[in-house]
């Protein structure tokens, strides 16, 4: 109880009213960060959400429902494109390297002038990505600039030296992501970075924890490194837990993909949850 209350005190403030498990779970997962290959916090959470689940040696979270044949795989990628610290300057700024495949100029540009979270050895650290002050561009030539890219990003955590950065628990390879505060709007729309992937996984959690009777064996896999070449997490799930008679990767259509306002309709997510429950029970 005490732990739950304290946890509530540090969780991002969600603007959602609790109506059904999926409505609570989707923004909760969307508020979390799981940079591709560095998904431990997310998989730890999934282990607590899905009864009898375990972590395989690839890092995937696996739950096995039912027994016998057919043996089928239902998977959802948990990772997201993001960044890691690539370098620290002498005056205390952090430079970034992108991790995970992404195709959208706005993905990088969304960093500029916005808050980020750095997941350091001593816990999350807030920072901001530097942007020029509009005032100081006045009276100076201002040709149309090329799009902002991650190579232009200087992360300011309030430190004045590399030693101060180190004291915060930050170093090369520290995961970095946009600060997240999922937004519910228009009644049933959820906007957040990677809302599509997170809501799909939330639907899978809901389906996997429903009381649907599985037909044969259904392996539920929350896979890591889905955005790395060759989708190694999913490949490992198939190699370690197969062979499978049928597989399905859970996805949900999203608008404005790879932007901070990637949007899903929670009504679609609820429909997906029902489909997954039917699939677990042997339906198509």
């Amino acid at each position: 109880m005490v732990r739950a209350l304290l946890l509530l005190s540090v969780l991002p403030a969600l603007r959602l009213s609790a109506q059904d498990p999926l409505t609570r779970l989707a923004p909760r997962l969307a508020a979390m960060t799981a940079v591709s290959g560095l998904e431990q916090a997310m998989t730890d959470t999934l282990l607590t959400l899905v009864p009898a689940s375990t972590r395989d040696r690839a890092g995937n979270v696996i739950a096995v429902l039912g027994k016998g044949s057919p043996r089928r795989l239902l998977s959802c990628p948990v990772d997201e494109p993001g960044f890691v610290v690539g370098n620290v300057t002498d005056d205390g700024y952090l430079l970034l390297r992108r991790v995970g495949r992404v195709q959208n100029f706005l993905f990088d540009q969304s960093l500029e002038g916005h808050r980020v979270t750095l997941f350091g050895a001593r816990g999350p650290v807030p920072g901001v990505v530097a942007v020029r002050s509009t005032h100081l561009t006045r009276g100076r030539p201002n040709p149309d600039q090329p799009p902002f890219t991650v190579d232009n990003a200087f992360v300011d955590v309030g430190a004045s030296s590399a030693a101060e950065v180190q004291a915060l628990g930050l170093a090369v390879l520290t995961p970095v992501a946009l600060w997240k505060d999922p937004m519910l709007y228009g009644g049933s729309l959820l906007a957040a970075p990677d809302a599509g992937r997170r809501t799909a996984c939330a639907a899978l959690v809901a389906a996997a924890t429903s009381r649907s009777k599985p037909k044969g064996t259904v392996v539920i896999a929350f896979t890591v490194e889905g955005l790395e070449g060759g989708n190694p997490g999913l490949a490992a799930a198939k190699a370690l837990h197969g062979p499978f008679d049928d597989t399905r990767e859970v996805t949900l259509p999203a608008r404005f993909a790879n932007t901070p306002v990637e949007t899903v309709n929670l009504d679609d997510a609820r429909a997906l949850e029902k489909q997954l429950e039917e699939w677990i029970g042997g339906g198509k």
């Binding site: 100029f105 500029e112 901001v128 509009t134 100081l136 300011d156 228009g186 906007a191």
Partner: protein, 364 residues
Amino acid sequence: MDRVRRTIALGVFLSICPSVPLSAQDTTALHETATVLGRLIETYGVSGMETPVRDAVKQLLPSWAQTQTDTAGNLWVKVGSGDPVVVFVAHMDEIGYAVDSIEDDGTLTLKNRGGFFSSLFEAQPALVHTGAKDVPGIFLPRDSGFTRHNPPPLRVDVGTGSRAATAALGIAPGATVTMPKEFVRLADWRANGRSFDDRVGDAAQILALRHLDRSKLRHQVIFVFSVREEVGLEGAAVAARTLGTSTARVHAIDTFVSADSPLELPNFAVAKLGHGAVARAIDNSSVTPPAYVDSLARVAASRGIALQVGTTNGGNDGSTFVPFGVPDVAMGWPLRYAHSPAEVVDLRDVQSLADLVQAIAETW
């Protein structure tokens, strides 16, 4: 059992208390500064819709302060009596958007309120402030033009799908639009938030009033919390006309846009964060007479207050008093990444500025 209850009570308190995290290094003064500033930062007030900020300022002022609101919306606090009248002015408004029209599909077209890079709002969560409530939505990302830094004119989607449904939410042209914001402590003494420009000025005036020794005042001092600075110093202009030539000196308390950043040219505006308040001696709207800069430096030195002197860009409310023969001794604090959600201040600078305002009121 009592211990458990106390722990639970602490947990509940932490879960509902305002999100103004404290630093272990805070002094009492710095804690007060962070608390006042945090409250102001987490209040919304785009130019022309400053009522929530004005209400917050009133609540944060000392109980003895008598306030007046003029026809423009400026909030006045007068202290002491007699000539020469000295005026401090800090603005309450922030940059953002106003709704221009509602389209057939229910999305909102926007017009700027103040100057900023629109790319900073693109593809971000949005809040439409109707006056009665805040309606959530998103700033739509562009669907083309990825080769340019800045997007085409932005629109906001509140997820309704029709003009009538949007109007039914209470949204009408003129409603203001921002994105959600929060006051967040960074390492040591630094903090991030949007609209430090000019909530820090407001906080400095409030803190100075809270700690002012009124018995030391030798003349009247007027503190003005102004409106519509970002769209052309409109509120201050009303205050300046009201006071006319009766003012002996004005101090605009506003941002010193600093080049203390890896992205800025170091030719000017290099006031370091953490090195104290800044005399904004020259900007795009006014030049402080050198003798007044010297006097300001003497006041700061007499109280042991850190002060930097520099020149930056931008205009300030005090410049509207200059045509009435009033010297504008503008002051500020160094701000990184002005007019963006990434704005960063050093709270020691804010404290320094508040101390300086108090010292000027009491001794100059």
